[in-house]
């Protein structure tokens, strides 16, 4: 199973859904329209590609791109041929919703809760979308880039010269 083969299968099946693709450090990375995420991952799981192991779900935040501000990154795997694929979907802050994978993978439950906890991404169809690692009444999603790690009111520290 090669990257070209899998990418071709995905583009053939969902010509409208694939936005872009790349291969950073050899891993096929496909950007998919966020409405079609569940469809594509379901296809990868049930088709003869057998990419049926959900390795990881995590979020990412790019404040400088308002249209594609919040991203979800899925890592999936075919254990038999040891093929890995990364799937990304981006959305704006106003429309921060994506389909949940809990019907496909039991393990998606906590991974999506963690992503919701840190980035505020609402997973449609998730049975129990509550913060998991932070306390439930925290009220914000701390991994977003606008929350600085240290107290923003401090003036005695100037990190700009260190490129941070």
């Amino acid at each position: 199973m090669t990257n070209e083969f899998v990418l071709e299968a995905i583009t053939r099946e969902f010509p409208e859904s694939v936005i872009s693709s790349s291969e950073p450090h050899g891993m096929l990375t496909v950007e998919i329209k966020k409405e079609d995420i569940k469809k594509v991952i379901h296809y990868l799981k049930d088709s003869s590609l057998e990419i049926n192991f959900l390795t990881d779900v995590c979020g990412i935040h790019y404040p400088e791109f308002p249209e594609k501000e919040i991203g979800v990154v899925y890592h999936l795997q075919n254990m038999m041929t040891n093929f890995r694929i990364r799937i990304k979907a981006f959305m704006s802050r106003e429309n921060i919703e994506v389909d949940s994978l809990t019907e496909l993978y039991a393990g998606a439950n906590w991974m999506e809760r963690e992503t919701f906890d840190f980035y505020g991404i609402k997973f449609k169809g998730h049975p129990d979308l509550r913060p998991i690692l932070n306390m439930e009444d925290l009220g914000y999603h701390p991994m977003l880039k606008e929350y600085r790690l240290e107290d923003g009111t401090r003036t005695d520290k100037n990190d700009s010269m260190f490129g941070r």
């Binding site: 950073p24 450090h25 390795t55 990881d56 990412i60 993978y105």
Partner: protein, 407 residues
């Protein structure tokens, strides 16, 4: 999909073992001696039978992912060893390998072999504790106390490498800060000579022990299909019969050079998890023996001056070394743009690092794929319907490490 909600279970549940017909709620944890770490299980019980379980995690969440967005790459090593503190060197070395993959460094063969020796020692230490504790929670404390002596000897070896015992901060990006010391060679040789016989005693104590087998066979079983759906990896997945091990599937750090087998179980119950770990200890010993016998000569670190601290003597005398020393210590090394996912076989399964760099001095995004966090969510499914003593041994044999659970 099966409806596992509490109200549904209560509706279906009509006969009670209790005389008064009442269900009660039991808080197992957060600081229960049997949880071996801080996490909570709220159990709904009917007599001794568990009808419903719900976990609460996050008690020791330390926001490592957020902190690492402000730290330079060398400083993140100290965060990784606070995840699975039972096998900290695997986390450290896994992180170093992730960075090396991103910046495109090839480390010398000797570094690979040194890493393999240390990672396998860490795996032995991790499995010894897990299995010792499983025995202890089934009522056999002796095994754990003897295996703690062996773990101490492994920690003595860590001390020779990095000066620390538990949270090791071992190695550097590109290799090790120093070569194996003569004392380390002495300790390792002694360990390889005496450990097998002592470990065999532990095996004899529990593996065919009637009481232990009765307690663990059939307790907390999970099918291979459900385990894969839940994202199990590592010994817990192999106990269900799936022979997936990253050391073989995607060899890193020259694992392809060594001859070893991947033990698998059949039923995925507590006894199988225990036995898979027992066998893995023997296989780890085999790997260490092979790696130590064939340890190549050569440098113990790669030539990456931007990331690897120069010799202290050079810092005082040479301009270049001083510049690099300053840049590394102040965290001023720019890391090339890119994104990379690297996984190593940790003590509990696939320990993955998803690293996105925007060309700055600290990661733009770093996500840890922590095996514990992912497989612990299967716990309610594994214990519902069993008695509470089975729930305890199931939890131990899953080897849930609170630090890795919460990151």
């Amino acid at each position: 999909m099966k409806d596992n909600s509490l109200s549904n279970i209560l509706n279906q549940h009509n006969s009670s073992e209790q005389i008064d017909g009442q269900l009660y709620t039991l808080n197992l944890g957060p600081t229960h001696p049997a949880t071996h770490g801080i996490f909570q299980n709220v159990l709904t019980m009917d007599g001794e039978r568990i009808l419903h379980a719900e976990q609460t995690v996050g008690y020791i969440h330390r926001a490592f992912e957020k902190i690492s967005e402000r730290r330079n790459y060398a400083q993140i090593t100290t965060l990784t060893d606070r995840m699975n503190y039972c096998s900290a060197p695997i986390n450290n070395i896994g992180w170093h390998m992730t960075v090396e993959k991103l910046i495109g460094v090839k480390v010398p063969k000797r570094v690979d072999y040194m890493r393999v020796i240390l990672m396998e020692l860490a795996r032995i230490g991790d499995h010894l504790i897990c299995n010792g504790v499983t025995g202890m929670d089934a009522g056999a404390i002796t095994g754990l106390t003897y295996m703690f002596i062996e773990r101490e000897r492994i920690y003595d070896m860590y001390e020779q490498i990095c000066g620390a015992r538990m949270t090791t901060n071992m190695g550097r990006i590109g290799g090790f800060e120093r070569d194996f010391t003569p004392k380390f060679h002495e300790l390792l040789k002694d360990f390889l000579k005496t450990f097998p016989a002592r470990f065999q005693e532990f095996c004899n104590l529990l593996e065919r022990n009637r009481i232990f087998m009765d307690r663990t066979i059939g307790a907390g079983a999970i099918s291979a299909e459900r385990a894969l759906s839940y994202g199990f990896t590592g010994p817990n997945l192999r106990a269900t019969g799936v022979d997936y091990d990253i050391r073989v599937a995607e060899p890193y750090s020259s694992y392809e050079d060594f001859d070893f087998i991947i033990p698998v179980g059949t039923s995925g119950d507590t006894y199988d998890r225990f036995m898979v770990r027992q066998q893995e200890i023997w296989e780890s010993l085999k790997i260490i023996n092979q790696a130590y016998d064939n340890l190549p000569e050569g440098p113990f670190h790669a030539d990456v001056p931007e990331f690897y601290l120069p010799e202290k003597a050079d810092v005082y005398k040479k301009m270049e070394a001083l510049i690099y020393h300053f840049k590394i210590v102040m965290g001023e090394t720019d890391v090339p743009k890119g994104e990379v996912y690297h996984a190593v076989e940790g003590g509990n399964g696939e320990l993955g690092f998803y690293l996105v760099s925007d060309g700055g001095r600290s990661p733009y995004r770093l996500h840890f794929r922590r095996p514990c966090f992912i497989y612990y969510q299967a716990y309610p499914e594994m214990i519902t319907g069993s008695v509470i003593s089975d729930a305890i041994v199931t939890m131990c044999s899953m080897n849930v490490i609170a630090g890795e659970l919460d990151a």
